[in-house]
Symmetry: C2
């Protein structure tokens, strides 16, 4: 079975890692959000892309889910001493990625090509694609004005009240090379348990003609990032509340609407499955360990295969 | 006695450090070459300026003369693993300087302002000025074509045969704020034992109207970077040879020509002093220890004071 997974950061990376433990390289393509990429200290940083790659490569910090394991912080500590901003954690090993990516971008390489090269070095055999090679900037519209995503998410710790989202540059964003083909050949698209508003929506916007749910299109399945009304990590539940929507697995399913052929939700939310018109898989969706990732991925694949 | 010192990297930094151990902060201004500044991995790097500042702050690696003491190399090792160039040594702590300087430059701050702020943090009380806030690029014209200075110096290890030098952008380079005033108030300008061709000439070009040797101008003294026909460090002697000039303290004195009121050369070259028309100080100019720096600086200051 050929699968395309759509992923944001930590939660998405976990399920992507689970899928990668089961599917052979040629059968899994992971398309990653780049809307929260940003420039910091003159360097081009791709938080979601790096989290997915570090996770697949076994380089991720298991305690945070982002950043590198066995990390040191000598660069940022010295930059902070000189008056530089310290709100975004930049580890030394992680910075090796950022400076080399920035160098290659300035040289004219595109992000998907750079990512392919990096994956090769990191021993990642499955295909990891940024959603696009064009610049897309996720803007969080808040009661304190428009904020770049990392400014809202990390610097302001998701405190400003959310009013809406905007993806600057999305109109000109083309799917990354190979992404169209991967979707065309896929038996299913799996939306990983990432934030629907800021991690998955930008990807869906870029791929909307391919994933519209109209025509013969590929079947799309989603795993809820909301369990028992709360998110495991990140501000999705808070965003739903501030937008006047009760945060729940149901709200996530409704968010994706007609796009979905099926929806995966946690046992704790089993009652909600009755309210859904799409097919559902009710299981334990919380991924605490590496084994959990593989187990959940296997259950999702079995379920899709059986449908 | 108020002194302005002109300095390049390691050798210049040593004498500047000696002067700073003797003169109170208000009596010493160090003007540093920026012609070998360059962009690497998207970061703006000022090798001479950093070497001078790290040396004055006691942060320099005592074994190399450049870079930071107690340094780690996690960023560059990871960037190299991803295919990035490794020919320029970028330590983690050193990178803290580069990323914060790059951030500030992109924010619109000028190099002299940034340097003033960094010096404050590093506890450097004497005034350190980049020669200019404009971009100047030292180009080494070689038998293998034009090379940016760091490309020639570090990447190519000074191997290409030198045919000449060019300082791109020098026509538009204004002295850094405060530099004119420091020279106007100085009792003497001391040219530190730095490479005349690539460290001192760019500074002299920027300050030529002030240091022309015409009019009432300030007295200028130079310390030879060439001892016994060789340089302690760096390619100055090789450059002289390739340009058809016998490398010697005499050649350095002739290089500066009418600009000089006096010249300091090593005991080993005492014979050469006879051939010089300017006043000379013959002493031990090799600075192996921190004490040597202070001793040489004190001798130079005493000599200037007595003239």
């Amino acid at each position: 079975m050929k699968i395309v997974a759509l992923a944001g950061g930590v939660g998405g990376a976990k399920l992507a890692h689970g899928l990668a433990q089961i599917l052979p390289p040629q059968d899994l393509t992971i398309i990653v959000n780049t809307g929260d990429d940003f420039e910091h200290y003159g360097l081009y940083i791709c938080p979601d892309l790096d989290t997915v790659c570090y996770t697949l490569a076994g380089l991720a910090n298991p305690e945070t889910g982002w950043g590198r394991v066995d990390e040191s912080w000598n660069v940022i500590e010295n930059a902070k001493r000189l008056g530089g901003p310290g709100w975004f954690n930049l580890g030394d090993r992680d910075l090796g990625t950022h400076i080399e990516r920035t160098r290659r971008l300035k040289e004219g390489q595109c992000l998907s090509e750079i990512t392919r090269n990096f994956c090769k070095v990191w021993g990642i055999e499955h295909t990891v694609l940024p959603m696009t090679d064009q610049y897309v900037h996720t803007i969080v519209e808040t009661d304190e004005g428009d904020l770049e995503f990392q400014e809202y998410f990390v610097h302001r710790r998701c405190e400003p009240h959310v009013k809406g989202f905007r993806f600057d540059g999305i109109e000109k964003a083309e799917p990354a090379p190979g992404a169209r083909e991967a979707i065309a050949e896929a038996d299913a698209v799996v939306i990983c348990p990432s934030n629907p508003w800021v991690s998955i929506d930008p990807i869906l916007r870029v791929f909307s003609p391919l994933l519209s749910g109209e025509g013969p299109g590929v079947r799309v399945f989603a795993v809820s990032p909301i369990i028992g009304g709360e998110t495991v990590k990140g501000p999705a539940a808070k965003m739903y509340r501030e937008l006047g929507i009760e945060p729940s697995a149901l709200a996530v399913a409704n968010h994706y609407g007609g796009l979905l052929a099926g929806f995966v939700l946690d046992q704790i939310d089993s009652e909600l499955s009755k309210a859904l018109e799409v097919k559902t898989l009710v299981t334990d969706t919380l991924m605490k360990s590496t084994e959990d990732r593989k187990r959940l991925a296997q259950e999702v694949l079995n379920w899709i295969g059986d449908l």
